[in-house]
């Protein structure tokens, strides 16, 4: 069992974590305007609908590195065994400025540049629990 903080799915986010457990990355999509939002919200940030009925829709999992940091001292003790690790700020290909943050699974020595292509990967933390991360596209 992991010491890392585990997500507590709620009514809205449950489909995201169910899909993640099957290694499928999804994002919340507004039923009114079809634009993606991460994280989902009460109001659609794109069309302003107060009834966006966000549906978690599978994505390609491909994206571009917009920034990164090497974490050498985590404030979450559950990550101590993983130090040091790289976090990447990724813009997903499906929509401009649809950005998510995750660990880069290639390790701290992998050369990185802005604009590098990455693909989603998943860290299996427990039965039925996988957290999205990224790996450099080859």
């Amino acid at each position: 069992m992991t010491n890392r903080p585990v997500p507590i799915p709620d009514e809205q986010s449950a489909p995201f974590w169910t899909a993640a457990a099957e290694h499928v990355l999804t994002a919340a999509r507004c039923v009114r305007c079809a634009a993606y939002s991460m994280p989902p919200d009460v109001v659609c940030p794109h069309c302003g609908s107060t009834d966006p009925q966000f549906a978690f829709t599978p994505l390609s999992g491909r994206g571009t590195v917009r920034s990164w940091t090497v974490v050498r001292q985590s404030f979450l003790p559950g990550f101590d065994d993983d130090l040091p690790f790289v976090l990447v700020d990724v813009e997903l290909v499906e929509q401009q400025e649809l950005r998510v943050i995750g660990r880069l699974l290639d390790g701290v020595d992998a050369p990185l540049r802005l604009g590098d292509q990455v693909t989603v990967g998943f860290e299996d933390l427990a039965p039925g629990l996988a957290v999205p991360a990224f790996a450099l596209s080859r």
Binding site: P7, D10, P39, D41, S67, F75, F79, R99, V131
Partner: protein, 400 residues
């Protein structure tokens, strides 16, 4: 509503007190706040029973699991009023980002509207025992479920991403940041109440520190402290009868990003675009432009904010701040420089959340800076937090 601030020059700071800034004080934070408030009221030539407005912000800026308790780890305006034995006409807390500039806005509006005569504004910061940001959380619900399970957590990760984005985009180097931190510590070392009094930092010491969240090292972060600052504000008319030279509020602006992001995700473009909007509103509100400012005091709770504020306010073009600073552009000892950290900032005083910036504007414009007094300052700007979420206030030695 946009354009010039209708109440420009009608509200002034008339007194202050700043406690010693220490890693840990022996007394509870509330006691230090009451003591500092009494000193500030006396400094302004007022009596406690004249104070009819109390404003402040209580944010305890830790990512850890520390207890929030009024009078102990935070001090609210109502708590302070009650302990001073005052029944105020108006007591309010600012709960946005840019806590100090937001509190000034509450105070100025309350005085300008005629709702109150004398406002006491305070900020009390606490450094709890144990690690400041460490959090043993094992579960992440709500907004944090999108970031903490992935390992993205805490303010150092927050600033490391846009900081590295800046370095990569403009080909800047983290070694350039040494001149920012050395400047802050040089000025802070000259301030008697600073935690870093008589303790400047060399560039070699800065560069020898290991990174924690690349490219951020510990010297890029202000140190958590116990400390309290209090300011008194009143109308320009009432200020004439008080002992010190009033310092007037000419205008203000806050950041207000509309783009929604993951918790603590502050991309560089959000900061730059939000900062440009803040600056446009600020100059309109105060009826001036960046060239009219003698003494900007930029926020530096994390060192990259110095670059980001210099560029947001229009003192440097995008990507130009590191070179400007390395060429001596902000050196407080160089005639003609833009001494944006002359008050030592947060890096040179301790984690006082916007207080050093406001205090330096007040001290210089009121001609109360003692040996550090600068001759030419008549318009100053105090900034707090990030340009896209925080705020800025324009102060003037005479009503603008």
């Amino acid at each position: 509503m946009s354009g010039r601030f209708q109440a420009a020059g009608r509200v002034a700071i008339v007194g202050f007190a700043q406690s010693d800034i220490r890693r840990h004080v022996d007394t509870p934070l509330g006691g230090l706040a009451v003591e500092t408030a009494r000193r500030a009221i006396a400094d302004a030539g007022l009596r406690v029973d004249q104070i009819d407005g109390f404003v402040g912000a209580t944010l305890f800026p830790t990512a850890g699991a520390h207890r929030v308790e009024d009078g102990v780890s935070i001090v609210s305006p109502n708590w302070l009023a009650q302990r001073l034995g005052v029944e105020p006409a108006f007591a309010a807390g600012f709960d946005g980002i840019g806590q100090l500039t937001g509190s000034v806005v509450l105070a100025v509006n309350a005085v300008a509207s005629g709702a109150v005569d004398y406002v006491l504004l305070h900020r009390a910061l606490h450094n709890p025992a144990g690690a400041y940001h460490a959090n043993p959380m094992r579960e992440a619900g709500g907004p944090q479920q999108w970031t903490a399970p992935q390992g993205f957590f805490g303010p150092l990760a927050m600033i490391a991403l846009p900081y590295n984005e800046y370095l990569q985009r403009y080909g800047a180097r983290r070694e350039s940041m040494a001149s920012v931190v050395v400047e802050a510590r040089k000025n802070g070392a000259r301030i008697p109440w600073s935690f870093w009094h008589e303790r400047p930092l060399t560039a070699d010491e800065y560069l020898a520190a290991p990174t924690l969240f690349d490219p951020v090292c510990r010297f890029d972060c202000d140190i958590p402290v116990d400390g309290v600052a209090v300011f008194l504000l009143t109308s320009a008319e009432r200020a004439r009868d008080l002992p010190h030279h009033p310092v007037y509020v000419a205008g203000y602006a806050s950041g207000a990003p509309t783009r929604r992001r993951l918790p603590l995700h502050w991309p560089l473009d959000d900061i730059a675009e939000g900062g440009a909007g803040l600056a446009r509103r600020l100059w309109e509100h105060a009826g001036i432009g960046p060239r009219d400012v003698d003494l900007p005091q930029v926020y530096d709770g994390f060192s990259p904010f110095v670059w980001l504020w210099l560029e947001a306010l229009g003192f440097c073009g995008p990507g130009e701040a590191p070179g400007f600073i390395e060429d001596g552009g902000i050196d407080s000892d160089r005639p003609g420089a833009l001494a944006v950290l002359s008050g030592g900032g947060a890096l040179g005083n301790g984690r006082m959340h916007g207080v050093p910036q406001m205090l330096e504007c007040y001290l210089q414009l009121a001609c109360r800076a003692g040996e550090r007094q600068r001759s030419s300052a008549s318009i100053a700007v105090a900034c707090h937090s990030s340009p896209h979420y925080g705020g800025a206030i324009v102060y003037s030695a005479a009503p603008l």
